[in-house]
Symmetry: D2
Subunit: 304 residues, 4 copies
């Protein structure tokens, strides 16, 4: 399917609303990004790329990194990982400590901050530099050698990470964090600060649309069953506390970040990424969510 | 695809675990059902039926009715329904009042009890006998004229409905219930007490696998987009607080009931129903969940 | 001690603020009471009465009744009562269901609505008309034969009691309510609707300042130890979620009602009641709280 | 009043139960204390000392220090302190983060850990060594020059302070902590590790029974009104989540610590301290609570 006309149509239709919503301000460096960016890319499994707008402008991937850090940790730990983090939607705002207290330090899923801190802890135990391991993994997935993090964003995030520090110490009090809190937070903030373009992210996520195999290198990243399961996690937990609404409106497995990016997949067809920094109250990109909703409406394709 | 050999294989493999778990005991009439039942049916969109075990034994559909009551209410109310009930996973056990308090009487989704009470309230406002409206709707969907509820189960449930009464009064205190609590509870308990076989339920749910159109009568039950969205709701909210885990393991939109039934769909292919009364702690049928997990593993088909 | 000059001074000082705050509106009949009332009475154990303003105007005692219903139930049940209701401050707004859910249907204390419903349930089990039993008990305590409830207020309250109904059904689901919810609510609403003046309430509460013995009749209402313990409960739980602040500012055991009344005691000295219908956000009378704070400041007396 | 015979009687009566309960184990150094200690001291305002058992054996005062740190901070900040910490009972176990999240980083009262961390933060802002400031203050109150903390206990506590670190970071995320989390935790753990005997603590707390004036030196520690208010806080919040029950059973303003100590006052009469390391589930000394209950029963004196 040729997705270019569809992306053009989405781009045209959304122009009036780009910039609506609020750029994340709790990380000072992110607050300086213009809300008027909009880029979208679809990379089909045959390698065809369709894209519009700022699809090749790098942005801070933020929580989108949680998907790839999890994949990397899962490659190494397998199902034993699920002893330390759940697979259920959180039913609470993404930085809540309440759930963590009620469930004895086991985060509900790997896509909320607490869960991603546990995933990071696993990677820190296995790598000298967990953030570089994840960046290199992303590089291999999209075929770039230079994927890296923005140190200013990482530092800015690290200086405002009191709430993540609280969660990390809290999980440590339950015995669910093995490394030093400071080291885990360093790695976590740097991983969130990885910078990539929509086109590269669409390429990187395509293995999940391809039954777990990297379509560009042929490398088996996950077995088919695990890839499907990762997609299920994205659908139920990938868009903060709006996962139900997102599944209802869009119907694609997706993972969003407060930098304004959202990656998604259409199984058997393509990897998708949209970026627009102004956010809804849920923390998901406002124009980005609409773009994905239009995408499934116009193509008539979703997983349902 | 011929599903009969697959069902036979599932039936054989699960025989040792049928009966493991616990039959729901909080409704006395349900507690008397033998845990050793197991039945499963798959009805392809061309009408082919594959089935095993007790697939034609009627059982109490319980919360499976929530899917059909919602469809009926949605036919009449459309999107305005979402002003009274959310679309997010609950992140809490299925009968929790905490969430309801925090969110001002708006239940998180229509598949938890509180949400289904709101749906029932809508149907009570529009029908003399809401439970008969839903039973007749189920009859039209599966091509039977005699779908009805078991009055003993309804009465047994009504006598132990203190917690549902609490939720109904609580929502009324927030202005989210229009009819008398007693009438809504009567209708709710009778609707839960509808009795059907797995084969009939697989037939009834097939319209959701057929883009919203009843494959047997050609009637358009929902438009294609709404049917997909209903499936998305099933995936994210259909199996109580285990929806994330269910999506991860099974990967099919599904709705379960404490009677031990689970309906599911494979879009474009078939309606599915499995029944086995012994439940996991999550309230879902133990053997039933395993059967669906085997089904997607053996067929290699899921929505992801 | 001659309290009259002190009451006069309080009355004078508070005139500018009487009427500040909000009259309770959730019970329509209460909403029609003028916010400009203010009355206060101090009845010394020797029978001397000091009073100002509307001290002899009857008002709806509302939750103040909880203190007397509890005393009556405790007379009959003794310490076994504490198996069904706790003695800890609630730490939550006074009508919260969250606590009740977390603690399996055992209300935190007898002065929140849930706890008072349990106390009412006990009285309903022992009396044909629980509300008349409590009214008669109040009559004996203050030496009046005609203490009764206002049926219009009772009916108004009953019609807006969805939240209390929710709590009652919820406790019934945990097995902590023996009578029919409707009967308990009827008795509860009528008991809250008992109408008395500040002077009569100051007289009625004086037994708690007198080591449990009714100073007017000599009747032993409670033994000395139980009377002290009842006072301790008033101090820690008597003024909704503001008990800590109230103890800090006022330092007297007290029980408030949303009708704007507050009863208090100075052990060994006197019973006190103040009434002014406009409430703080905490549900306690605004001018009434200030009056009691002035009372302990001007007399230099509190329990601490 | 001569309290010696009463203490002797209490000591005799409690001998069979001393050691029942559990010594706090989450701080390794505390876990090594024998559960069989029991000491009690009453210091009358005329200087008379009554004591039994291990009344002169120093123990780790732990949360008892919160009372004195608060007094010191209140001396300097006055009522502005209440903008950063509340005065209400917590209604939750003493180390809960839930309340903190719901109330935007403002702890419910200064006697739960979170509140004490805020108090410590205030002292750290005003002193080079907050822990020494509090120790010296305690020394002045009891007339000793050598009050100090046990560095092994402080270090042991600091190494197991993940949960306190979580709360400190969490409050910092709400802007309610001005100093570095590490510095605040250091000072907090050292302050908790102050070591004193029951006799010295009974002497130190006596100013609260003496309208705020140190009875030994004549120094005005707090004005009379503030001293009464501090006592009110002890009564409503001083014994963790058991304050209601403690007020009911004992009826004295008190502050307990997990080291097994409890200080209390009888206004106008005496300061009291009891120590026995084995704790109830609520975190209060088991034999200590019983001793105070016997004390009010035998003397017939309480604040009610």
């Amino acid at each position: 399917m040729n997705y270019q006309p569809i992306l053009d149509r989405i781009h045209g239709a959304l122009k009036p609303v780009i910039g609506q919503g609020k750029v994340a301000t709790y990380i000072p460096e992110l607050a300086s990004v213009s809300p008027d960016h909009f880029g979208m890319a679809v990379v089909s499994l045959d390698g065809t790329v369709a894209s519009v707008g700022d699809a090749d402008v790098p942005f801070s991937i933020q929580s989108i990194s949680k998907l790839f850090a999890l994949t990397l940790a899962f490659q190494r730990e397998g199902d034993s990982l699920w002893a330390r983090v759940g697979r259920e939607p959180s039913g609470n705002p993404f930085n809540s400590l309440v759930q963590l207290e009620r469930e004895s330090g086991i985060p509900r899923n790997p896509f909320i901050n607490a869960g991603a801190l546990v995933v990071t802890d696993i990677l820190v135990s296995r790598n000298t530099n967990a953030e570089i391991a994840t960046a290199n993994f992303l590089g291999r997935l999209c075929g770039r050698s230079n994927v890296t993090y923005d140190p200013r964003v990482a530092q800015s995030e690290r200086q405002t990470s009191s709430r993540n520090a609280a969660m990390a110490h809290f999980m440590k009090s339950f015995g669910n964090l093995n490394n030093k809190v400071g080291e885990v937070l360093d790695a976590y903030c740097r991983t969130c600060a990885i910078s990539m373009s929509a086109t590269d992210l669409a390429r990187a996520v395509a293995f999940l649309a391809n039954r777990g195999t990297n379509p560009w290198s042929g490398e088996k990243v996950l077995d088919a069953s695990s890839a499907k399961r990762m997609s299920a996690l994205m659908l139920t937990c990938g868009t903060y506390d709006a996962a139900g609404d997102f599944a209802y409106r869009v119907g694609l497995p997706a993972k969003s970040g407060v930098g304004g990016g959202i990656v998604a997949i259409l199984p058997g067809e393509c990897g998708i990424c949209v970026w627009s920094p102004a956010l809804e109250e849920t923390g998901n990109s406002y124009a980005g969510s609409l773009a994905l909703e239009m995408f499934t409406t116009l193509t008539g394709k979703s997983i349902f």
